[in-house]
């Protein structure tokens, strides 16, 4: 089995970077290339890395103050004049706080608003559970017509930010606070709804999203060393889900682990479970929070305590292969 390790494709971390800076860089790029792009922020310009856009295009930037409901409504209104609004605040305040505004003024009204959300999940860290939303993917994927994207690193977040401007319709773009490995190509083209096969494997499929993608790659290396061949798929788009990529992979491996920085209720795992139940019932293990709130701590401590790291993925993979 040692040969597997030599065959497995490896990824290099080109240096830790925060995904929210990828969003800021993407927005800066859009400012230059698309004059219809406008940005709104609810008193978190620095946190969302929107400073550049604001500086370069003050007339297209709207500081709304600590008033997220008004921000979402204004974004809906701006689309009526042909603008493409990008709203920026923490994931918690981008979703749960303004759910009804998104539901009626954006989703039901078919408005071309891009809801961009940083500081998602436990890795927000020390601020604790009030700010660590673990329910946002579920909230947003349930809205008819909403596209839901959770990017894994700086480069992918930048590419996704640029790509969603060309997609007509409401989008929820979820990213994070901490610096994490940057390993996807700098010059990538982001395709909404298209899963990325990161490693080929034959024993277990690992489907991961957001910060858990790098952890899945680390897990695959560890599993490989232990003689288990893991196929890692990066699902950056949770809705619409690339069902074919998942079904093709599990035909080969016969079991699956899903990994996400989100509650196991309502997240990527449940979306995958639905696909499996409908098309190919398959053993699945969920790496996700277990219907709980977070707490204060460093990102690494929290991901360890709540079982959202490569060790947890390895454990889940070993368990699921025995269930085949």
């Amino acid at each position: 089995m040692e040969g597997i390790g030599r065959l497995m494709k490896t990824y290099t971390n080109t240096g830790n970077k925060d995904t929210r800076s990828g969003f800021g860089a993407g927005l800066t790029e859009l400012g230059k290339t698309n004059e219809n792009v406008v940005a709104l922020c609810a008193d978190l310009i620095g946190s969302l890395k929107m400073d550049d856009f604001k500086k370069n295009h003050p007339e297209r930037f709207f500081q709304v103050g600590i008033a997220e409901a008004n921000m979402i409504g204004m974004a809906a209104g701006l689309t009526i004049g042909g603008k493409i609004p990008f709203t920026g605040t923490f994931a918690n305040f981008s979703t749960g706080r303004v759910y009804d505004q998104i539901r009626q003024s954006v989703a039901y009204s078919d408005k071309n608003v891009k809801i961009c959300a940083s500081h998602a999940g436990l890795t927000l860290g020390e601020d604790g559970a009030t700010h660590q939303i673990l329910e946002d993917i579920g909230l947003m994927k349930m809205l008819p017509g909403m596209t839901v994207i959770n990017t894994c690193d700086y480069n992918q977040t930048k590419a996704a930010t640029i790509a969603i401007a060309d997609h007509h319709g409401p989008v929820y773009l979820r990213f994070g606070r901490p610096s994490v490995p940057n390993f996807t190509p700098e010059d990538q083209t982001f395709e909404i709804g298209k899963a990325l096969h990161l490693t080929e494997g034959s024993d277990v499929t690992i489907v991961a999203t957001g910060h858990l993608v790098w952890e899945a790659l680390e897990a695959a290396k560890a599993l490989n060393d232990q003689g288990i061949s893991a196929e890692v798929i990066d699902i950056h788009t949770i809705k619409p889900l690339d069902e074919q990529a998942i079904l093709t992979s599990i035909k080969k491996t016969g079991c699956i682990v899903t990994a996400e920085e989100h509650n196991y209720l309502g997240g990527l795992g449940e979306s995958v479970a639905r696909v499996l139940a409908q098309h190919q019932p398959t053993p699945q293990e969920f790496v996700a929070t277990q219907d709980t709130f977070g707490e204060s701590g460093t990102p690494a401590q929290l991901m360890n305590k709540y079982g959202l790291n490569s060790e947890a993925i390895v454990k889940a993979a070993k368990k699921v292969v025995t269930r085949k």
Partner: protein, 281 residues
């Protein structure tokens, strides 16, 4: 602008439409609709500089947002009679497969509707966004919106009211239907809001009061005054004093007909008080 007699006839016909629409499906909101009939008729027949055909982006024309979406009957009737869709379609109000949903929506592609409304308190923010888009597009046309007085109990309004003045959004005229009623009773009993004039002025808006909101000429005059106040660095608020259920005696001065349809007998009484003018659908 159409002459006053034509508009008076239209007001009566719209009242008939409202009564017949809600009666047919035994649901809907006649009280607030009747109270705002003169406002809608004036708005779409003289006050707004609008295009005859509907385009969602509303570039190069005045546009309107209804925030208190439950008064959809008056909105649909006035839109149809302004030519956005056929008046016959009013007969589908609230029926399955209709574009005339209980509360207005863009979802079914009904011309004249630019945002869904019904969950209260959201329309002013949307109108503000549209007003800012007009400024970016160097479009000098105006954005109009309508809100219930009870609706102002929703906090999002005050976020929008604060934003508009702070950012000199002076191409918007937000009208408040001050009928003093909401579902559970008089607004002053349910949750008194004090002086709306003082509140809007304290937030930096220019306030225009129309004390007889069911007098067509007064509405036209008042809205012209409001229009003359735009473009001067401040958002404009119109406090439109109306009588809920206006034009049907037994529906007036009460919240009882907020969301209740007349029965067969009551319909006949209401229609008799508003003899057909322009032809029923």
């Amino acid at each position: 602008m159409s002459n006053t007699k034509q508009l008076e006839d239209l007001v009566i016909q719209v009242r008939r439409d409202i009564l017949r629409m809600v009666h047919k499906v035994n649901s809907g909101h006649p009280g607030g609709s009747l109270g705002c009939t003169e406002f809608f008729v004036a708005l779409y027949n003289g006050i707004m500089d609008r295009k005859e055909t509907f385009e969602m982006d509303g570039i190069g024309e005045d546009i309107f947002f209804l925030s208190n979406g439950h008064i959809s009957p008056v909105f649909y009737s006035v839109l149809a009679r302004a030519g956005y869709f056929s008046v016959e379609e009013l007969s589908t109000f609230r029926l399955i497969d209709s574009r005339l949903q209980g509360h207005p929506t863009t979802h079914e592609g009904l011309p004249g509707i630019r945002v869904a409304s019904g969950s209260l308190g959201q329309g002013m923010s949307v109108a503000l966004g549209a007003a800012q888009a007009k400024k970016l597009n160097k479009d000098t046309h105006l954005v109009y919106s309508l809100h219930g007085d009870g609706e102002l109990q929703e906090g999002q309004n005050w976020e929008a009211i604060m934003y508009a003045a702070a950012n000199n959004v002076d191409n918007i005229i937000s009208t408040i239907d001050v009928n003093g009623q909401q579902i559970d009773g008089p607004t002053d009993v349910v949750l008194p809001m004090g002086s709306l004039k003082a509140k809007f002025e304290a937030f930096g808006w220019t306030v225009v009061e129309i004390t007889q909101g069911n007098n067509l000429e007064e509405v036209i005059k008042g809205m012209a005054v409001a229009k003359s106040k735009t473009g001067k660095g401040k958002p404009v608020c119109v406090l439109l004093k109306t009588i809920m259920g206006n034009g049907v005696d037994f529906m007036m001065h009460t919240h009882a007909w907020h969301g209740k349809a007349p029965n067969d007998e009551q319909l006949e009484v209401g229609l008799a008080q508003n003899a057909e003018t322009l032809g029923d659908y």
